[in-house]
């Protein structure tokens, strides 16, 4: 169980502090699949970083009763001058996984071949996405945080992600952040909408979808 209460976060900007999250409450039960919808810049990624522990809230409390992945997003998590393999090894060491044992899976899943021995800075965003996804599958988490990354890959990548996340890891909790309601609708049991720093909770995905469509219109 992950329980967040009264999460507040503001960032300093040239024109004063901007509040991104203004009292967000969220509970994630084991095995639950939750979608978080919001427009660009609504604070979805900030929320996910706080859940993952990459950032701390200004106020509020977060209790993590299960292991949580780092946010699977386009940037972040990789040191760009290291090769893909060295980044994989770094992450494996940090999380206590034997790096060599997971190489076959990573080669197979990413299909990056020789590029795995090249610096990550030379990767396209699609290649980074594949590496990020494969790396996080190597570590066994109770809850995965997926920040847009799946929705953008090509269909082959999406099929593989689907297999890994929703079939093989169907018992894990999942938080999917997206501005694409279709993806959330297809994959999540619940959805919430982040708007003006508040998280609006809904009992069903359809209700969230309706609210989000009206808000976007």
């Amino acid at each position: 169980m992950i329980r967040m209460t009264g999460i507040q976060k503001a960032y300093p900007t040239g024109s004063g502090p901007v509040t991104v999250l203004d009292g967000v409450d969220l509970t994630i039960a084991p095995g639950e699949t939750i979608g978080i919808l919001g427009r660009n810049g609504a604070g979805k990624s900030t929320l996910v970083r706080i859940i993952g522990g990459a950032e701390s809230p200004d106020a509020g409390e977060i209790k993590r009763g299960m292991s949580v992945s780092w946010p699977l997003a386009f940037g972040g998590g990789f040191q760009s001058s290291l090769t893909g393999l060295d980044n994989l090894r770094f992450i494996c060491r940090v999380y206590g996984v034997d790096p060599e044992a997971c190489l076959p899976f990573v080669y197979d899943f990413t299909e990056l071949g020789v590029y795995l021995k090249e610096p990550v800075r030379t990767y396209s965003s699609g290649m980074r996405a594949r590496l990020a996804f494969a790396t996080s599958m190597v570590v066994d988490f109770d809850c995965y945080l997926v920040d847009e990354i799946v929705a953008v890959g090509d269909s082959r990548f999406q099929t593989k992600c689907h297999e890994e996340l929703f079939v093989k890891r169907a018992d894990r909790a999942l938080i999917i952040v997206s501005h694409d309601p279709g993806f959330v609708r297809n994959h999540c049991q619940k959805a919430h909408v982040l708007r003006d720093g508040k998280l609006h909770h809904f009992d069903s995905v359809d209700q969230a979808f309706e609210y989000y469509s009206e808000y976007m219109a």
């Binding site: 960032y11 970083r49 993952g52 522990g53 990459a54 950032e55 701390s56 949580v68 780092w70 946010p71 940037g75 972040g76 998590g77 990789f78 040191q79 760009s80 001058s81 290291l82 060295d86 090894r89 770094f90 992450i91 060491r93 940090v94 999380y95 206590g96």
Partner: protein, 260 residues
């Protein structure tokens, strides 16, 4: 497993991973790779030793020039390289802070450890090599030399934490550190013995904490050959103050640093 043991395991894993990551980006897998870790400080010290020998700096004191240069310049490298590496530590490691267990402090500790290992191997290696070819005598009191080396290392580490923490919020630190380090070098005791200076200058130069470390080191190395002046309590007070200030500063900025 208790939570302390668990935290210790995670801490060890993170520091080990960061050390490997630093070695790889800094030295790569080309030519001699990680051997540069101590080859670089060795080359520095060798160059300075050669220069000082030619410049006949030893006429200023009664002690052998090679041992004088090796003890002096190795000391400088020890306290100077850690801050230099730590003031630029945050930026390239920002993406790694995405991983919850990787903390800003770990990034600093990994860089400090790497510099400590490199400069120590360089110092010990040069002493052994020169001793082997009889260019210098073995230290009179090895324990004292080791104690002084630890004190200088602690000084470097505490200064690195303090300046690294400050550099997280101010670009000025990086701009000012290089001229400051350059100016501190001739004052640091590496190239003179305190008792060789006029009395007024002695008291002034002994305000600098690293001078005490270098004097202590040379007391251990040359012992009866020279007279040294140092107060290890004074140096320890500086080190402790810098360590505490550094740790507080790092704790304060880790809330503000945003992973990339």
């Amino acid at each position: 497993m208790s939570s302390v043991a668990q935290s210790w395991t995670i801490q060890r894993r993170v520091l080990g991973a960061l050390l490997m990551r630093e070695i790889l980006t800094r030295y790569g897998r080309h030519n001699i790779g990680f051997l540069w870790l101590f080859a670089e400080p060795m080359l520095f010290t060798l160059g300075v030793t050669a220069l000082w020998s030619i410049a006949k700096l030893h006429q200023l004191s009664s002690i052998p020039i090679v041992a004088f240069a090796v003890t002096g310049y190795s000391s400088v490298l020890l306290w100077r390289s850690m801050p230099t590496r730590c003031i630029t530590a945050i930026e390239p490691n920002l993406p790694l802070l995405y991983h919850r267990n990787v903390r800003l402090l770990d990034v600093f500790l990994a860089r400090i450890a790497l510099e400590a290992v490199g400069t120590t191997i360089s110092f010990v290696g040069l002493v052994l090599i020169f001793w082997g070819i009889e260019w210098l005598d073995f230290p009179e009191n090895v324990l004292k030399v080791a104690g002084a080396w630890l004190m200088l290392g602690w000084f470097g580490a505490s200064l690195a934490l303090f300046l690294g923490g400050l550099a997280g919020t101010s670009e000025l630190v990086e701009k000012l550190w290089h001229p400051a380090a350059y100016l501190l070098f001739p004052l640091s005791g590496a190239a003179f013995l305190v008792t060789g200076l006029p009395p007024a200058a002695q008291d002034a130069v002994l305000l600098l904490p690293m001078v005490h470390g270098v004097e202590y080191l040379r007391d251990g190395y040359f012992g009866s050959l020279i007279t040294t002046r140092y107060d290890i309590g004074y140096m320890a007070a500086w080190n402790a103050a810098l360590t505490i200030a550094g740790l507080l500063r790092i704790r304060a900025i880790s809330e503000k640093v945003r992973p990339e």
